[in-house]
């Protein structure tokens, strides 16, 4: 077993490449389930150690570093891939499954890599494959959103690459990916961190996330919400544990997401803003950097992947069935889609950290780590953000889709019904896991990178959580009029590149293009035409002016003009003839000088 190691990403890649052969026919569904399942089992059976060492150019690359930190992420990622694939079983486009699997492969590759080269390889794979999940929705907005997503992620990848190259140079060729030395950060440290932060959607590098996840296909955003940001959290936990600046960044993130979630009218974009908010906890956890905090970040990522996947599945099923995702187009659907409501509610209660649900056992770990490190302001602000989480994901989403004012058009209402079986199965699995993790803590805690000495189910913690949550609910119902959805959008920082790109394109089209065209014709306008004119003028001068005296000179000039005309008509023998004459002239000039 020790020597024999198969990279789970390899299973996904090969599976994706062979998928077109199974895309039609009776083997389609078994195949779609089998590949992620094999990958998941592979992760379950995996030994700890270092595997997959490959020589490439001057480097020794490590594809398989299996330790406790990578294992917990690998476990949940492959599991989520299985759930997501089941959720998308009805999707007939083979390409969408392929993109999703390759994307998962990219994520797994990052988790198990031991060096920056492999990291970068899979990092780019994630960006270039996940964008297809946006494009597969097929709307014009999706195409543009995907394009921007790709550009933003390329920029992030480049920051990472630049940091890596600087580091490579500074360390004399060290490619090992481990703790980067947070005590003495250099430019390379910050660049690598920016690369990671962009994928983790930390403000100000976050605005790609709501845009992309709101525009992705129904199954696409179920995948996307699980992998990109959490892989980045893993990378941060691996390299930047204890980086102080991450604590305020994480707290700002947690609150930022909450504020924008209040303003959001699109259910999936609202959930996307709550990813930012939740990842904020993880980033803060990494910043605190103690064993408990890293445990908390890993546990929260684990729980988050499941409940956020569940929430996206719930809202996605509404979108899939009704074609709508905006609160102002929905409402009162509990009679039509009660089971979808129940699953979404479970997801909502999990993200809000209700006791007995998964968020409760993970989120509190980070907050507790903050308290025990005496970073009180962070701990209190994170607690405040968790009130906001419940307010929106736990209350606003279910309320305005399934209760509230019925804004459904007749067509929407008629189309609304429970989603297909495969979607429900996926949601049932995810719901079960959310509750299971919340109720049976050793399951998750035994997977964590460090030993856990934490029990969330103390009477005080229960009382504290219930008070915060239920009084938040009180506030929600008191202010419900204020929270009524508005058919507006909230401008986020993406305005910088959305409007900036327009400006840039104008710059490219007008000044740059004009100059280029001018240069392009310069040989003509500045070279040939004046020469021709001179020649004609000389010719005229010759005939009509000084007849006889300078006869010869003028005629020569005219001949040049004629010669040039011949160049224009492409008679090469003349061109060559004049070239040789010119050479002779130059030689003569040199010899004489």
């Amino acid at each position: 077993m020790i020597d024999f190691w198969i990279h789970p990403a390899l299973i996904m890649i090969v599976g994706a490449l062979l998928l077109p052969f199974f895309a039609k026919g009776p083997l389609r569904i078994p195949y779609l389930i089998a590949v992620p399942l094999v990958s998941f089992v592979n992760v379950l059976l995996m030994q700890k150690g270092t595997f997959g060492i490959v020589q490439f150019m001057d480097w020794t690359l490590t594809f398989g570093r299996v330790d406790r930190l990578s294992h917990v992420f690998g476990f949940i990622m492959t599991l989520m891939c299985l759930i997501g694939t089941i959720y998308g079983l009805h999707v007939k486009q083979a390409g969408q499954h392929m993109a999703a699997w390759l994307y998962v492969a990219g994520s797994l590759g990052v988790l198990y890599c031991g060096d920056y080269v492999v990291l970068f390889l899979f990092w780019e794979l994630m960006a270039f494959t996940s964008v297809f999940l946006i494009w597969y929705r097929g709307r014009k907005e999706s195409l543009n959103a995907g394009y921007r997503y790709l550009l933003v992620h390329t920029a992030g990848g480049l920051a990472l690459l630049a940091g890596f190259v600087l580091r490579y140079q500074a360390t004399g060729g060290d490619i090992f990916f481990g703790p980067v030395g947070v005590d003495s950060p250099t430019l390379s440290t910050y660049l690598i961190m920016i690369g990671f932060l962009l994928n983790a959607a930390v403000p100000p590098f976050h605005s790609w996330l709501p845009e992309a996840y709101g525009e992705a296909s129904v199954t696409g955003s179920v995948f996307m919400c699980a992998f990109t940001t959490k892989t980045a959290v893993y990378a941060l936990a691996r390299g930047f544990a204890g980086m102080d600046i991450l604590v305020p960044m994480g707290v700002i993130m947690a609150l930022y997401g909450v504020v924008y979630a209040v303003l959001e009218n699109d259910s999936r974009r609202l959930l996307a803003y709550h990813i930012i908010s939740q990842v904020g906890y993880m980033v803060a956890g990494v910043g605190i950097g103690t064993q408990m905090a890293i445990n908390g970040a890993a546990a929260h990522a684990f729980a988050h992947i499941l409940y956020k996947g569940l929430l996206f599945m719930g809202c996605g099923s509404v979108l899939y069935m009704t074609g709508q995702s905006k609160f102002t187009e929905l409402g009162g659907l509990y009679k039509k889609m009660p089971r979808a409501f129940l699953y979404t509610l479970i997801g909502g209660l999990s993200i809000s950290a209700f006791p007995l649900f998964s968020g409760f056992v993970s989120k509190s770990m980070i907050v507790a780590a903050g308290f025990s490190e005496h970073i009180y302001w962070a701990a209190f602000l994170l607690t405040l953000a968790s009130a906001g989480t419940f307010l929106h994901t736990g209350l606003k989403v279910p309320y305005f889709i399934w209760f509230g004012k019925n804004n459904c058009a007749k067509e929407t209402w008629d189309r609304a019904a429970e989603p297909p079986k495969n979607m429900e199965v996926a949601m049932i699995i995810a719901s079960f896991l959310c509750i299971f993790i919340g109720c049976y803590t050793p399951f998750l805690y035994d997977l964590l990178p460090y030993e856990v000495n934490y029990d969330p189910y103390t009477a005080y913690h229960l009382s504290e959580s219930m008070q915060i949550l239920l009084f938040t609910a009180l506030g929600f119902f008191l202010f419900i009029k204020k929270l009524a959805p508005e058919a507006k959008i909230a401008i986020d920082l993406d305005i910088i590149y959305r409007k900036g790109a327009k400006l840039f394109m104008w710059f490219a089209r007008k000044p740059v293009q004009t100059v280029d065209d001018a240069v392009s014709e310069a040989y003509n306008d500045g070279g040939l035409v004046p020469l021709m004119t001179t020649a004609r003028f000389a010719s005229w001068f010759d005939w009509h002016g000084i007849d006889g005296v300078v006869d010869g000179i003028a005629r020569t000039v005219r001949n040049i003009g004629g010669g040039l005309r011949k160049v224009q008509s492409g008679q090469l023998q003349y061109s060559i003839y004049y070239a040789v004459s010119f050479v002779a002239l130059v030689i003569a000039a040199y010899v004489l000088a």
Binding site: M57, L143, V512, V519
Partner: protein, 492 residues
Amino acid sequence: MEIVSIKPLVAMLFALAGAILVSLSGRKPNLREGWSVVAAVCMFGTIASMVPEVMHGNMYKQTLFTILPGLSVTFRADAFSMIFAVVASFLWILAAFYSMGYMRGLNEHAQTRFNTCFALALFGAVGVAFADNLFTLYLFYEIVSVCTYPLVAHHQDEEGYEGARKYIVYLTTTAKGLVLPAMILIYVLTGTLDFATNVHTGIFPEGVSSVLVTVLYACCILGFAKNGVMPVHNWLPGAMVAPTPVSALLHAVAVVKVGVFSTTRVMLYVFGVDTMSALNLGVPTAYFVSFTILTASVIALTKDNLKSRLAYSTVSQLSYIILGVALLTPNGIEGGLVHIANHAFSKITLFFCAGAIYVATHKKYISEMSGLGRTMPFTFAAFGIASLSMIGAPPVAGFVTKWKLLVGAMEMPVHSLGILCVLLASTLLNVGYFAPVTYKAFFGKRPEGEPYVGVREAPLSMVIPIMIAAVISVIIGIWPDFMMTFVNMVTQ
């Protein structure tokens, strides 16, 4: 060790013989195209047969005749020549099949003239690769210019003549106006035009005026206008009026690489790394071509004509090669030179795709190709892969270049961050102008009233070369060792 052998010459003569045989068998199209393929295969075979010895550090050399002491027509095959010769001759085989599909698919006129000139252009290109001195190099450089003129003017319409005129004026004027005087001066100054045997020393003796050397250097950079450095790049977009196989093999591989090959050959083997660093020529050159890299990419963003966009992309990418060499660090030079091969395979794929699209649909503009990827999935998939290589995403070939260039830039004592920014910004721009072609083709809405009825993939004689070129782009990204062997030998 030097091996006196006529092998380099034989390789070239295959192309020449191919040209003659093609022109004689104009009446029988199958025989004519057969000769093209046979010539291409023989040439590649001869060049390949030199690979093992060159890899052992040997050099083939043969003098044809001597005009004056230090001025002769001499051929050599060293590691540096092999980079270009192997790539050009191999891609000629693919292009021969491809152009058969293209020219027949469109029922083009004057196919005999076309094929003859094509072979002659390759004759010139390989001649440049195997040139042992500046004089021989110049000779074949001009042969390439002249022989490709009829190819650019192929359509013989106003647009064709306009493009061809621009082409010939730019290329011959710069060569005669700048390179020729520079060459003469170098000969007078040094008494020889033979290239040095390593990249360091150059051929200039001690005590030559540094101003004079700098002027000569500038003449050489701008004079080999086939390298597409701004402001003498406009012949290349103009030359896009030619049939696509020409754009593919000649204006992505043979002709433009003749330009950068000549430029870098002169930079490394006439001036030499030592002279260049002593005179501080590296950094200004690097920034000079950086301007081209970025500006050409910005212009490419605005082009809706697919071939135009590719042309500006070529302008940008060619400067990567010169940039790499101008960094004057081992990794930089390696990155630049290996890009000769990497860019060749990827860019020829892109042009092949553009041609396949044109044959299948008669469409030239990107905006008209919306939704076409669903009808021509192989072509556009290949386009996507080759785009990734241009962008420099791992594991496709372009990443090797980008990595080497980045490390090379880092090795520079000064200005390393400036060059780093240029490389990164250019990558972003590459994504900016390549991604829309692929994603609009696969996911865009088909134009109203044009459901592409009856449109299918281009003929197999086109699709197979496309797939081969695309696959090789990936293979040389994952196993770059073959090309890297030559490149490493150059810098040692």
